[in-house]
Amino acid sequence: MSEKPYTFDESPEQTSQSTLRRDAIYGDVGEEDQHNAMTGYGKPNNDHERDAVTKPQYKTKVKTQTLDIAQPETKLPKQVVEDAWEVDSKKGGLSLGAATLGFGVVSLIGFFVFEAYTTLAANVSEHPIGTGVLGALLVGFVSCLSFLSFKEWRGYKQVNTAMEDASVIRDLLASNGTDPSAQQESSVGGEPLAGTEASPQKIDRVLSQHGKRFSRGSYAAHCFDRYKQQLQDDMTGPERLGLYEDTVLKPVQEKAHKVLNKESVTAGSLAFISPNNLIQTFAVVWISFRTIRRMARVYGLRPSTAGNWKLLKVLAQNIAAQGVFDLATDEVANQIGGSLSAKFMENSAEAIAAGALNARLGRALIKLLK
């Protein structure tokens, strides 16, 4: 491509332009018309009657240049395929948690070997390599553990920041995303007017900040990508906010409720088939952590494993409630007798309780993250 991608082929002072819809303006342009254009006086074709009224001549306010580049092709918009997003992320290699555990196990084994080695050799100074390897393993373990702790802390902080963002978005939604200047703009029409573009920019900034916090591969991030694809440059602030609500906030909320329902059914099913209370408690704890993890995947915010104390408090309350419920159902079953129907009734009641308690945990989580 040349440095100058266009050439001037028309004079800016011309009264009409051949590249534009000239025939629509003046009809077919004959020699006489060209003469008229040069002289500036109109004289229609062989029409002496029109002499009394001068043919209008206009000065063009548009300059046109020919470019020597090809027209870029417009791509079709993205297709919104069925929600094929899965709650469980695909395992991509070794996770950090597994690495920590691995280092720990290796260190432990290493210390055992080292211990055995020192016992057997009884001379540590004579074996510097073994000591070095074991030391390195230990350093790795400590480093990973520290990094993991840092991630946990950052996850906790992130949730709190996201909650602050969410409250800003909620405020904007409540006021229909307008400040006084933007309201004036929307009263005249759908298109933004010159000079009142601060509002869309502000809303864009808030939404982008909120969107950036979604972890990669989460449902929220998936929805945020869809929002960005549908964003158009002429959208006003309230329209951007409405689009964000439709493409991110609402679908994420719906997905969270769907996942929670599924998890509650699983919790109930596990409680139903658990042979004893100990296994049932473990199952409830496991499903509770899984619910937290899955919900976090939907919202794209990781409240950290040991993260938000509010959730742990709900979890502890759930386990306690489940224990109390177990005692109650045991007692009822004893009163009825040890028949199969009594056992069935006891398990059914516990299943309902487990499901309801898990739903309670999920609702607390939704309240926290939305």
Partner: protein, 463 residues
Amino acid sequence: MQKNIATLFDKTWAMASLTGDKLSSVFNKETHRFTITGLSRSGKSMLFTSLITMLKSRSEEGYACLPLLRYLPPSQVLDMHIEPIEGYKPFPHLQNITDLENGQWPKATEEAFGFKLVVRLKETASLKRHVLPHSNVVFEFIDYPGEWVTDVPMLSKNYAHWSDSAWAQLSSGPQQYFASQWKAFVNQFDFEQEPTEQRIQLLVNAYRDYLVDAKANGISLLQPGSFLLESSDFDWQAFGFTPLPSSITSDVSHPWFKIFDKHFAKFQSGWLTPLKQSIFKETDKQIILVDLFEGLNHSRQHLYQLKETLSHLADTFVYGQSTWFSRNVLKKEQIGKVAFVATKSDLVPVSQRGNLLHLLTQITEGARARFEGKPIQFEHFLVSSMQVTDDGSNADAIRYKDSDDRYVESTFEPIPSTLKEMEEGSHFPVPDVSVPSDFKARILAGKGVDRLLQFLLGKGEQE
């Protein structure tokens, strides 16, 4: 006897089914009737073609377009289909798409077409979804030649009144140049001769020549517009009429006045009245399409004339808010929502669209004056049915492929935001854009259609 009982049972069953269908349609069918009013070349046919393409691509192929149309969320749309409207030819959507594929713009509408867009929506209300799992949203659209709409205000006039006002109009404004030949013809015409069929045709043909010439040169206020179309059912060759000088119209016994008065009455009763009843039937939503480029392409006078034409058009319709009682018992609708739409907005740079919108609000002032004291919701919109231009090298420029297949860049001086700002003797020529080969992607990239539909369908979130 048995046969009679069986027939009676069948009839009762048929009635019950019919009643059931009607009842279910009351609960799960929502019909929106749109009157789309636009002068010729205002882009009605292209808007319909784009609308169908956008909605079909959105619901059937899952393309993420019309993002601001919250009323029809893609997750709830089950399917969409087009149905004909009784008494109308089906809208040639496929023909228009074929034309675009062949690099031609859809042909100008010369007769009325009607179609219904039926969108089946998944019911989300917790109780209702078990009883009626889906609901239908029906949009009724009628496409008609823009030339017809300019004639409807003639219904409220008699011949003498119309003739005097038409004569005054063609003697002023930008049309006076194009009318000079017609006026010269009238001046040398011998009205002392009896109005025979040949003489009437001579006069009508001369007047029609003026109408054709003026239309080609951007004049919008042309009556009767129906004379411009061969396809109009009114036989203007046999029952034509023209405006006459006041020296004739003031004499009710003049044979030329008598014959034109008779023809004018026939035009009103045999053509305009049924036209208004069938096409401009009472609806509750109106879209008024305005091609501002018809004015910008020519002069400030053309813009003033466009304003005057729109003002006359607004006189034709019944405005007000329909109540449940008037809609369902009196079967009478009033237009409660009006959208003023400037089409082809992609033909100006983004930086100038604010000015274009302001200009549109001023052009519609006269029409909006009809809403005073009535609970009418109205908005102004800029719409591009197809995004045919690309961004230019600077904020005031656009790029497009012209009819000579050259990729060009047009740089605009500031577009006036008011009529007063339009410099006398200057104009903004319309970019002569060819149909892009990637037209489908550009239709789906069209802007403003979702905003427009959301305003018309939404329950007042915009205000």
